[in-house]
Each structure stands twice: as structure tokens, then as C-alpha cells.
């Protein structure tokens, strides 16, 4: 399956910020980078199941709001204690002002 799902409008997220997106019983986090690109990852931290969308985005890092675990949201790589399991990422495209993600 390669379904593109509309997550939000580009204007819904500030630059260097993140938004939560729930779909089909799952939760995702959609990011807008400082250089105006969009990315998507699983919505929950891999340490404890906490919504990353409440966290802080700095450059290409999302920091978990609960215990400051860090991930590179472009690659999903875990970047330091206490997180050690990487975050799943999803393809994103922008079409006519809409942000679409492909949920595999």
C-alpha cells in the first residue's frame, strides 16, 4: 500500500516546529524544518510513549518533552540518552499547499 494521506496545510506549522497528526488509530509528528522542508515520523517517543509534538524542534532535532531524549527527525536517528531506539520516518510531499505523508 502506498497511500498518500493529507496531514495538514503548509501554513499550519511554523518553520522549525512540529505538529501532531492522528490517522487510522495511529499518531504521527509532522515537522517543518528551518529551511522550509517537511518531514514526518512516528508520533510517539521510543523511550516512553509520549507525544513528540509537545517537544521542541531545533535545527534538525526534535527533543522529547518528557525527558529530553533527542532524535534527528529527518532520519529518525536516536541522538543520545535516554533514547536508544530510532524513530520511524515517513515520506512526505507538498502538493498545492497541502502536506501529504505516505503511511506504509
Amino acid at each position: 500500500m502506498s497511500d498518500w494521506v493529507e496531514a495538514c496545510a503548509t501554513g499550519d506549522i511554523d518553520e522549525e516546529d512540529v505538529m501532531r497528526f492522528d490517522h487510522g488509530g495511529r499518531t504521527f509528528a509532522i515537522y517543518r524544518s528551518p529551511d522550509d522542508e517537511f518531514f514526518a515520523t512516528d508520533g510517539l517517543c521510543t523511550h516512553e510513549k509520549v507525544h513528540l509534538a509537545d517537544g521542541l524542534v531545533m535545527d534538525d532535532i526534535i527533543e522529547c518533552p518528557k525527558h529530553n531524549g533527542r532524535f534527528n527527525y529527518k532520519t529518525g536517528d536516536a541522538r543520545g540518552a535516554p533514547v536508544c531506539v530510532n524513530l520511524k520516518t515517513y515520506p512526505v510531499k507538498v502538493d498545492a499547499g497541502k502536506v501529504l505523508i505516505r503511511i506504509g
Partner: protein, 409 residues
């Protein structure tokens, strides 16, 4: 051949330090010695989620497989009993001797004991997973739990006990709960949340006597009031574990005294985490000892770098969190450095108090709210504190001004 790196205390700090040594590429022997029978594990869940679950499990910092893969030798259930500084060796309780090039003391802290007669087997403390399992067995519907001390661990445990239907009384000798480090405005919200959940909080009265007959604890307060409980959990603070260091002649000052690089009075011995006192750069070198999880993590990693010769000074801002019911509290910095406060209201009743020094410098921020409502702004505040910023109070107080914009200034 290298004697290698030896770490005493396989807790948050020791565990992180061992992993960090390998991440930094050190390839000599790394030995992690701990007196608990478990893998290094996270303590914070012991008063929170782990307590509510049916069968509490350890949240390990590293599995056996990871330790093996990284050739970290973990010696468990064994205590380090003496340091021979001249020989550069540590003697263990099983009689073995471990030579070291550099030694890290990450011995943590231990609950402060209630200095009273009458305590028996129904009067317990919470520090280890073993303690937690023993307490968990008593947290059943209708059982009466008395919590002595209105600090974080006791209050978190009170919340867990209520979720499991136990009847809970918190006894705090001071005039309010969370007297240490938490502003009254925030302590009030936590107090009210507990009362709304049915916890009986008794403040302002010391304990006159305790009688524990092995089945029931009877606590008599100074004003004569009596509380009977099936279990009393004592949470009146913690003391650094310094015996080993003191006997080895290292300088002790409210913990094993270290410099900004976490080095003790012996240049080959480092100390980090709950057991050490260190100069906090962000407050002009004020000597503090923290009992905080992220500090243990960061200092473990910093100690590892400095054991390998990085010569890096500790520069982090203290940070702490606590969860009770649906509320989360986060504190960045030390609020007692502040002289005035500015309040910023966030959505859903959440708010942050910014603590400013006399000269307008932001020195701490304390926030409370549902879920992770305060997390992002506390994190930004922490960065502002680290930069020794003097943000305009009006900007801090206004929801319309993004804190991130102040950081760029």
C-alpha cells in the same frame, strides 16, 4: 597493558558513563561494579508507572546483550569496600581486587533515615527496585498507607497508591508540601490535586512517636492525632553515599567534592551523579549537589569524556521533573537564586513561573500543567538561563511573545 576504567555504582550515572566510554572509542577494559543484583536501571519509574502496573519490571539502561556487545564487564551484587589510591586498585566485597587507571565513583544517594525509635518492618524506604516490589505488594484497595514526608518521591507514590485504591495519608512536618525547591504557588496545585484524589495531607505537625508491631504502624503527631497504617513509607530526603570515598581520604563536602571537571581531590578519581557536590558554573561556581536523573546522565557522560582527558567543564543547567496524576512539573535552574517572579499562563491551566535575579538575569523557571504542557517553554527557559539572558519581564509574562524569539535576541 591498560588497567582500564573502573566505575563503582551501576546506577543511572555509572551505567551511562560505561556506555559513553565505549561511544567515545575507548578500547581498554571497562568494569562496572554494583551492589544491586540488577542491570543498571532507571529509578524514576519506581514511584510512578512501575508502581501502578500489576507486575513492576525493571527499565534497564542497557541489556546484558548490549553490555556484552560493548565489552563492558558488569559485576553485580558486589560492593566496593576500599580504594588503595597508591596501588590504583579497588577491593571488592568478594575479596577480588580491581586495578584502575581512572576510577569513577557513581555511588548515588540513599534515603535519609528517620531518627526515631519504634520503626519496624512495616516502616520502609524507597530507593531500589527491590524496595519498590516490597512496597507494591501493599498497594491494594483498602490498605492504609502512611507517607512520611511531603517530597517528590512520597507524593508520586501517594498518587500511585491512590490509583490502586489504597487509603493514603501524607504527613509533612513543614507548613506545606514540597518546601524544598518548589514555589508555594505550584506546591498548592499539587496539594489540591492530591486532596481531590482523596489523599489526606497533614502539614505542620511533627511526629511525636511511632509504634510498629510488625502488622500495623501507629504514628502519633505532636498535637496528639493518631494515624494507623498497614505500611509507612518514609521519604524525607536522601544522603550522598560517600563512605568509600571518605575512607580513601577524598575531600567530602555535602557529597564527594569534585571540581568543574568532576575530578575529586585525587586526580585519577572522578565522582558524578547524586553522590558528588560540584561547582555550578551558571551560578558563578556555587557548590551544589543534585539528586536529579538528567544530571546523573549528563555527569556520567561528562565524567567519561574527562576520564579520557577531555578537560571539559560542567556547564549544564539543573533540570528536574515529576509526574503526579495527570500533572507534570518541570523545573529548570535553582529557584532559590531568584528574587522576583513573573508568571506566564499557558493553555489548559498550565503556567510557568520565571525566577529573576536582582540584576534581571533569568535564573530558574518552574512550570506545572497537564501532560507535557510546560515542557517546551521550560526547555527554552533552560537555554535562556544557560546563556545568562536578561529577558524583559513583560515578554516572559506574555503568551503572545514566543520564548524562542527571546533566545535569538
Amino acid at each position: 597493558m591498560a588497567r582500564g576504567m573502573v566505575i563503582i555504582g551501576a546506577g543511572e550515572c555509572g551505567g551511562r558513563a560505561a556506555l559513553a566510554l565505549r561511544e567515545l572509542g575507548y578500547d581498554g577494559p571497562v568494569t562496572l561494579v554494583g551492589d544491586e543484583p540488577h542491570l543498571p536501571y532507571e529509578r524514576p519509574p519506581l514511584s510512578k508507572d512501575a508502581m501502578v502496573s500489576e507486575a513492576p519490571e525493571i527499565k534497564a539502561i542497557a541489556s546484558d546483550a548490549i553490555l556484552a556487545e560493548k565489552s563492558i564487564r558488569h559485576i553485580h551484587s558486589v560492593q566496593a569496600v576500599a580504594i588503595d589510591r597508591t596501588a590504583h586498585a579497588v577491593r571488592l566485597s568478594d575479596g577480588s581486587v580491581l586495578p584502575y587507571d581512572k576510577l569513577l565513583l557513581a555511588t548515588g544517594s540513599t534515603p535519609r533515615k528517620l531518627p526515631m525509635p519504634g520503626l519496624g518492618r512495616r516502616c520502609v524506604y524507597l530507593r531500589t527496585f527491590t524496595d519498590a516490589l516490597a512496597i507494591r505488594a501493599h498497594l491494594t484497595a483498602g490498605n492504609r498507607i502512611a507517607i512520611i514526608g511531603g517530597g517528590f518521591i512520597g507524593l508520586e507514590l501517594a498518587a500511585a497508591a491512590r490509583k490502586l485504591g489504597a487509603a493514603v495519608t501524607v504527613i509533612e512536618a513543614q507548613s506545606r508540601i514540597l518546601m524544598r525547591g518548589v514555589p508555594a504557588e505550584i506546591a498548592r496545585i499539587i496539594h489540591d490535586a492530591h486532596v481531590a484524589e482523596g489523599v489526606d495531607i497533614l502539614c505542620g505537625d511533627g511526629i511525636a512517636s511511632i509504634a510498629d508491631d510488625g502488622n500495623e504502624v501507629r504514628i502519633t503527631l505532636a498535637d496528639g492525632q493518631e494515624i494507623s497504617a498497614d505500611l509507612a513509607v518514609i521519604g524525607i530526603g536522601a544522603m550522598p553515599v560517600t563512605g568509600l570515598a571518605a575512607e580513601a581520604g577524598l575531600t567530602i563536602d555535602n557529597g564527594i567534592a569534585v571540581d568543574a571537571e568532576l575530578r575529586s581531590s585525587d586526580p585519577d578519581i572522578f565522582a558524578a551523579g547524586d553522590c558528588c557536590s560540584f561547582p555550578l558554573t551558571v551560578y558563578g561556581g556555587r557548590r551544589v549537589r543534585l539528586e536529579a536523573w538528567r544530571n546523573a546522565q549528563e555527569q556520567g557522560a561528562l565524567a567519561a569524556r574527562n576520564m579520557l582527558g577531555a578537560g571539559e567543564a560542567h556547564a549544564a543547567v539543573p533540570w528536574f521533573w515529576s509526574d503526579q496524576y495527570g500533572l507534570s512539573l518541570q523545573i529548570a535552574g535553582l529557584s532559590d537564586e531568584g528574587r522576583s517572579t513573573v508568571r506566564r499562563d499557558l493553555e489548559g491551566g498550565a503556567f510557568i513561573l520565571f525566577h529573576l535575579a536582582e540584576d534581571g538575569r533569568l535564573v530558574a523557571a518552574s512550570g506545572i500543567g497537564p501532560g507535557n504542557a510546560v515542557a517546551r517553554d521550560i526547555r527554552l527557559a533552560e537555554m535562556l538561563i544557560g546563556k545568562r539572558a536578561k529577558p524583559a519581564p513583560e515578554a516572559l509574562g506574555s503568551q503572545a511573545v514566543k520564548l524562542k524569539s527571546l533566545l535569538a535576541a
